[in-house]
């Protein structure tokens, strides 16, 4: 009895996932340290929660609008995507946002830009057969990404307020500044 199936065939989509993960890891390691391990854990849980909840509702029956990776079933690569790839993207996006902290129109433009980039990346992922649409459309993904990034920005501000109130360290720089 296998709880989570391995990939049916280790081909283009698996290599694509691993390639992007390695690339993102290099980018993250090059970025100056702004977030503590606790923030990274929190961000990982938050994005795992968002992605798995959305996929659980719209990618599984009865809606079943798309498949991720090789098969309709839940497989190991799905968990790799939820647990590593999405949180990595969130890390980079939140690092950029935290560096400049745009407000109002600029924040909107940032969310829009990052959503457009995500739609572009999803298009490339489709070429690598990572997603197979069964009623979904690439254009629908735009508003979903916008909402996801908006929620991530909200989370960042929420954790900043928590750090100010309780002292729980989520941000390296803010903590050192306050001392």
């Amino acid at each position: 009895m296998i709880l989570l199936d391995p990939p049916q065939k280790f081909d283009a989509n698996e290599w694509f996932i691993l390639g992007v993960i390695v690339f993102m890891l290099i980018v993250i390691l090059k970025l100056p340290k702004t977030f503590t391990p606790l923030f990274v854990s929190y961000l990982t849980v938050f994005n795992f929660f968002l992605s798995t909840s959305v996929d659980f509702i719209i990618a599984a029956p009865p809606f079943d609008l798309y498949d991720v990776a090789d098969q309709p079933k839940h497989e190991i690569m799905d968990i790799v995507i939820y647990l590593i790839l999405y949180p990595q993207s969130a890390y980079v996006a939140m690092w950029i946002y935290n560096r400049w902290e745009w407000r109002g129109g600029r924040l909107f433009m940032f969310l829009l830009a990052i959503s457009v980039i995500n739609v572009g990346l999803e298009y490339i992922a489709i070429l690598f057969n990572l997603y197979r649409y069964k009623g979904w459309n690439l254009l629908y993904s735009g508003p979903v990404y916008f909402a996801v990034w908006f929620l991530n920005v909200w989370l960042l501000h929420f954790l900043k307020r928590t750090q100010e109130k309780t002292g729980i360290p989520f941000f390296v720089q803010t903590a050192s500044r306050s001392r």
């Binding site: 009895m1 709880l3 989570l4 199936d5 391990p37 606790l38 854990s41 929190y42 849980v45 938050f46 795992f48 929660f49 798995t52 909840s53 659980f56 509702i57 599984a60 029956p61 009865p62 079933k73 839940h74 929420f158 954790l159 928590t162 109130k165 309780t166 002292g167 729980i168 360290p169």
Partner: protein
């Protein structure tokens, strides 16, 4: 008024497809005990479930006396993730439970799994992580949660929402205890990190 209820019931009857045995509703005693039709009962069940979900979420406010909102939030997310993953693996991958995918049963299940159950697991985690040495209370809460979950699943089977395939309530008990344990371990990690931060 009767006409509206009749139309609504018919609408739901159209939605509620017969199961593989060709029966629309399982012929259990419950249908004869209550003066309601099966689908109307299902709607009531859905409404009750929604109401309980809202009350459950509101109940989280009480936790704020002892732990921060950020921690409550992470307890809830961890509980939802673990509950969802368990359901996906059991129903979708292993096909041990067949779920009725008509809209009312489907959303009833989702509301329970993503609403009531995670909040109950969160409360269980809260008791285990904040009540030092009160073992009777901790074990009592876990037993109550397990019994409640098994009762709900039994009710789902009775209503025809779930059909067991090589599955039984014994496995459900083991599964919910595993889910509780995983959720508790993940929560313990966050708790230790939060406490470390608070003590700085």
């Amino acid at each position: 008024m009767d006409n509206v209820v009749g139309q609504l019931t018919q609408l739901c009857l159209d939605e509620y497809k017969p199961n593989s045995k060709g029966k629309i509703f399982p012929k259990y005693l419950i249908w004869y005990m209550v003066p309601l039709q099966g689908v109307t009962l299902m709607i009531w069940f859905l409404l009750m479930n929604s109401m309980l979900s809202v009350i459950s979420f509101l109940s989280l406010k009480r936790m704020r006396k002892r732990i921060s909102v950020a921690e409550i939030f992470v307890i809830l997310m961890v509980s939802i993730i673990v509950a969802e993953q368990a359901q996906i693996i059991i129903a979708l991958n292993l096909k041990k439970i067949e779920e009725d995918m008509s809209m009312i049963p489907y959303w009833t299940t989702r509301l329970y799994e993503m609403g009531i159950l995670p909040v109950l697991i969160s409360w269980n985690n809260y008791f285990w992580l904040t009540m030092n040495k009160r073992w009777t209370l901790k074990i009592g809460v876990t037993i109550c949660l397990t019994v409640f979950h098994v009762f709900v699943i039994w009710l789902f089977v009775l209503l025809g929402i779930f059909t067991f395939k090589q599955w039984n309530l014994g496995y459900t008990t083991v599964l919910i205890l595993t889910v509780i344990l995983i959720s508790l371990l993940l929560q313990a990690y966050f708790r230790s990190q939060f406490k470390k931060g608070e003590s700085l």
